[in-house]
């Protein structure tokens, strides 16, 4: 259980996190979303006591992080997989971390086994690929068998196999009843892993809701219907107060009616339907819509089109 209250952090004149308040519930995966530079990493650093907030408080199980008796038994955090001394072997890296929390030495071998690094345990980590470094970082988070796990952009730069591995791991950790708090600027990644979402932009909270609420709350849900009697159906729909617009290749895009209502309407009017589909706005679109005004560094696309951001760079 992590409680963030009124968190504010400034670096010089720039406010990275601005009066942020949210809580993270145990036993599920909470996605922490925002465009690059939104303040996700800063928030995580403040939770871990690496950075000192200018205002506000952060509590883990009711205590400030530095006051936890055995921090690694409470929280396992991976902010940057490359934040290791490259000259140290994987085993010694994990050993020196385990020792700080008086964890048994055998634990090092166990977590190495779990992440599949046993064979390279004696090798210096500077030779590790990003995927291996990520596994080493995750091994470190699991040393203390923590109740809360925090990952900052864990899939950044990983190949599809590594991404799948991390996704499965996060789901498995949540299924074991742990709290998983994972940040990403990739909406598509959250779509597959998160139960709950916290969305921030420019250091401010934009949304704190479940995944389904997030999707439902976006304006983009509509129904696609296909029929040989286009004009007749469109008139009937308009008569119901919903809006119908001609879509691509002869389909009709309907807003303001569910598939059930549309199906019943068509039946009563004696209109044959060839397709009746709910088209949900993708999470990606919902996210873009929400954060459009809070993207910090944007490149304006030529021709005055929608600004492009890195948000949608899919997996």
């Amino acid at each position: 259980m992590i409680e963030v209250r009124g968190l504010t952090k400034r670096y010089g004149a720039k406010t990275a996190v601005d009066d942020l308040t949210f809580g993270i519930e145990p036993g599920k995966v909470t996605g922490f979303l925002g465009p690059n530079g939104a303040g996700k990493t800063t928030t995580m650093r403040c939770i871990l006591g690496l950075d000192y907030p200018d205002a506000g408080t952060v509590a883990v199980d009711g205590k400030s992080y530095p006051d936890l008796a055995y921090p690694m038994r409470e929280v396992g955090a991976l902010l940057d997989a490359k934040a290791v001394h490259g000259g140290r072997s994987a085993r010694n890296h994990l050993l020196c971390l385990a020792q700080t929390n008086s964890l048994p030495r055998r634990r090092v071998g166990e977590v190495l086994e779990l992440v599949g690094l046993t064979e390279v345990a004696g090798k210096r980590s500077k030779g590790f690929s990003l995927g291996m470094s990520q596994r080493l970082g995750i091994a470190a988070t699991l040393l203390g068998d923590p109740k809360v796990l925090m990952f900052d952009e864990p899939v950044n730069g990983l190949d599809p196999e590594g991404i799948l591995w991390i996704r499965n791991l996060m789901r498995a950790l949540a299924a074991e009843g742990r709290t998983v708090f994972v940040s990403s600027h990739l909406m598509s990644e959250m779509e597959h892993t998160a139960d709950h979402l916290i969305v921030i932009g420019r250091g401010k909270l934009i949304a704190d809701c479940t995944m389904s609420e997030f999707i439902a709350g976006s304006s983009g849900a509509w129904v696609r219907v296909r029929t040989p009697s286009v004009d007749q159906l469109m008139r009937a729909i308009n008569a119901q107060g919903a809006t119908a617009a001609a879509g691509e290749d002869g389909s009709i895009e309907v807003r303001g009616m569910t598939t059930e209502q549309l199906g019943d309407l068509a039946f009563s009017e004696g209109i044959r339907l060839h397709e009746l589909t709910t088209v949900r706005a993708s999470l990606e679109e919902a996210f873009m819509e929400l954060t459009a005004s809070s993207v910090e560094y944007r490149a304006d696309a030529p021709g005055g089109q929608q600004p492009s951001t890195t948000i949608g760079s899919g997996v």
Partner: protein, 312 residues
């Protein structure tokens, strides 16, 4: 990374914990950190080889000079000469290790991982300082004693070497009695006797090791303040080598008044064993050492403050 292995495996449960993570674990961790990177072995190896090796070379040269030119025997401080490479060059080598101990955490980013595992920063800093001090002191003492014994062995034939096991008498003065012939040294008469006691020699050998350890802690403190390896090492060099040179260039009456307030002076005082052999403008051995200790303690304290107060 060929296989996707995860969720089907579960970690065995940990034994329940009592108490609180503290200094004991942090000490074990810091010792693991120090012993598990190559730079530690490079630095300690270089300390031993350079201090002892160069000391032996210098003393070998002195052996020839003492034999060839007996006038040099007067006031010859075999202890200090054998230790000069240790406290002049060795201090820099161990200073690099002192700075690296803390700056490498920042340059690699490891500090964020370290402080996430153990967020009580005062404990981390204290553990780091304690482990580094102990390792440095042990290796400094070994280096100092070995450099001393090897150095004295190099001048054994002249019977001018110092001893830790008994008092040694050396000539106090050399009186010039006439020019030597071509290729031979001037004629001298040796007068008087200086007694170099074993306890003085012990003080010099142990004290020099303490001096080098203090310099290493100065470097450690600067590392914590500056957080960049190159910057910290450059500052150590400035403090221990450049400032003394600048002071040497000042007018005598200034120089003599201020030189005792700098941390490098103690090494040149504590290593002296011949009576009256030290610069009269410096304090005696232990008071001068306190000056160096004040720098070390002061910089360690400022480093501790900044280590705790700044964002990691």
């Amino acid at each position: 990374m060929a296989t996707i292995t995860t969720s089907d495996r579960r970690l065995p449960a940990l034994p329940p914990a009592t108490g609180r993570a503290g200094l004991r674990g942090a000490l074990a961790s810091e010792f693991t950190k120090l012993r598990s990177v190559r730079s530690t072995y490079w630095a300690l190896g270089a300390l031993l080889i350079v201090s002892i090796g160069v000391g032996a070379l210098v003393m070998g040269g002195e052996s020839g000079s003492l034999t060839h030119n007996p006038g040099n025997k007067a006031g010859f401080d075999g202890t200090q000469v054998s230790l000069i490479p240790f406290f002049e060059i060795g201090q820099l080598i161990i200073g690099v290790l002192g700075a690296l101990t803390i700056t490498s955490e920042y340059s690699t980013g490891m500090i964020r991982t370290s402080l996430t595992a153990m967020p009580r920063r005062g404990v981390v800093y204290a553990a780091k300082a304690i482990v580094f001090t102990c390792v440095t002191l042990v290796f400094s003492l070994i280096t100092s004693f070995v450099a001393f014994f090897v150095g004295q062995a190099m001048v054994a034939s002249t019977r001018e070497g110092a001893s830790l096991f008994g008092n040694v008498k050396i000539p106090a003065n050399a009186i010039f009695t006439g020019p030597g012939g071509p290729g031979s040294p001037p004629k001298v008469t040796l007068q008087g006797i200086d007694v170099i006691t074993a306890s003085t020699v012990l003080r010099a050998v142990v004290g020099t090791a303490l001096f080098v350890t203090l310099v290493a802690l100065i470097a450690f403190g600067l590392g914590a303040i500056i957080r960049h390896t190159a910057g910290a090492i450059a500052t150590v060099i400035g403090l221990m080598f450049i400032i003394p040179v600048v002071i040497q260039a000042l007018p005598d009456n200034w120089r003599q008044d201020i030189m005792r307030f700098f941390p490098d002076a103690a090494g040149r005082v504590i290593s002296v064993t011949v009576p009256g052999g030290a610069n009269p403008h410096l304090w005696s051995s232990w008071p001068q050492m306190i000056v160096t200790a004040c720098y070390a303690v002061g910089l360690l304290a400022i480093g501790a403050y900044m280590f705790r107060k700044r964002d990691a």
